[in-house]
């Protein structure tokens, strides 16, 4: 009987799977990241069928080549990086260019107010449920490199995001800021309609 796995770290589970072939350790890793990984993939491919296939590919690849991952406390980053590569391949295979490496500008993060004092709050203009739905809708309209960061920040630290997308931390923060800013602009346009 295997010990309880829910309290174990990612690397402990990976080691259990690598050394003992523990199916339960593999399944625990899948359960731990299934929602965030699926949501990340879906946010970029915008197609449930393709998202399901890519999600499986990521974990199948780990299942078959688990020994190629060396436990360094970065399993989560490794998982999202693998997913990112699969997503890029998916678009390449379908001859649909997807640029995740684009940035609006190099350099440091520049903050400026996205809502002037005289503008009504978006939060007041929409009900909570409608607001959540509209936020989801407008997030899908963001340029891919901004959308990616806006979603990834739900699951990874900015330092981890910078590693996964291979961009400087300042650029990642700038992309996130611009993504959030654009979402607010799109929401305002929706309210004005």
């Amino acid at each position: 009987m295997e010990p309880k796995l829910t309290g174990k770290s990612d690397d402990e589970l990976v080691l259990l799977f690598q050394k003992n072939g523990s199916d339960k350790a593999f399944e625990e890793l899948v359960i731990r990241y299934k929602n965030s990984l699926y949501q990340y993939i879906l946010s970029l491919v915008k197609d449930e069928g393709a998202a399901g296939d890519l999600f499986q590919e990521v974990f199948l690849s780990f299942f078959r080549h688990a020994n190629s991952y060396s436990a360094q406390g970065k399993f989560k980053s490794w998982l999202f990086l693998t997913a990112r590569n699969r997503i890029l391949n998916h678009f390449r295979d379908n001859k649909q260019p997807l640029s995740l490496d684009q940035t609006d500008e190099d350099g440091n993060f520049v903050f400026y107010d996205t809502l002037g004092d005289d503008q009504p709050s978006l939060l007041d203009a929409l009900s909570a449920q409608e607001l959540a739905e509209q936020i989801r809708q407008v997030s899908l309209k963001l340029p891919p490199h901004q959308r990616e960061v806006v979603y990834l920040r739900q699951y990874l630290s900015f330092k981890e995001i910078a590693e996964v997308v291979n961009r400087p931390l300042g650029t990642v923060l700038a992309d996130c800021h611009r993504g959030i800013q654009k979402m607010q602009q799109l929401l305002r346009a929706h309210i004005a309609q």
Binding site: D23, F26, E27, V30, I31, K34, N35, S36, L37, Y38, Q39, E48, G52, F55, Q56, F59, L60, F63, F109, V110, F111, D113, T114, L115, D117, S121, L122, L123, A128, L131, A132, E133, I135, R136, S139, V150, Y151, R153, Q154, Y155, S157, F158, K159, L173, C176, H177, I180, M183, Q184
Partner: protein, 130 residues
């Protein structure tokens, strides 16, 4: 403390002193307070929803559950079937069973694994619906 730290603040990536300084900054910066409110709403709206069960079940069918198929009494059964087929193939031949043997050999080269997978997927779908 600058407004740009808002994302690191929301993600809990500031150290204790930076966090305290940003909290103080929030008291005087209306733009950051509004931004913070919006980010909290965005976090709720974009929080990961459950991945479809069917997707996860299909993954397990291809990995951990497939492995289980190879354990227990099933390999014994598979061995008996294989021995029967081999016995049939290496029995003294007659004209009648030569054609059958050819068919059996062709069938053995067919990708049964894919067929089994499709069947398992159909079954999983059926069970989930009924």
């Amino acid at each position: 403390m600058k407004c740009e730290n808002i994302f690191l603040y929301v993600n809990g990536e500031l150290d204790a002193s930076q966090r305290a300084a940003f909290k103080q900054h929030l008291q005087t910066c209306a733009a950051c307070r509004r931004q913070l409110q919006f980010l909290e709403q965005a976090d709720i709206a974009l929080a990961a929803k459950a991945a479809p069960e069917e997707v996860v079940n299909r993954l397990f069918a291809k990995t951990t559950r497939k492995r289980r198929f190879l354990t227990g009494w099933k390999p014994v059964l598979a061995g008996i079937v294989a021995a029967s087929v081999l016995g049939f193939l290496f029995l003294p031949s007659s004209e009648n069973n030569t054609a059958i043997r050819t068919e059996v050999l062709a069938y053995m080269q067919y990708d049964l694994d894919e067929d089994y997978q499709n069947f398992a997927n159909d079954l999983a779908l059926f069970e989930s619906e009924f």
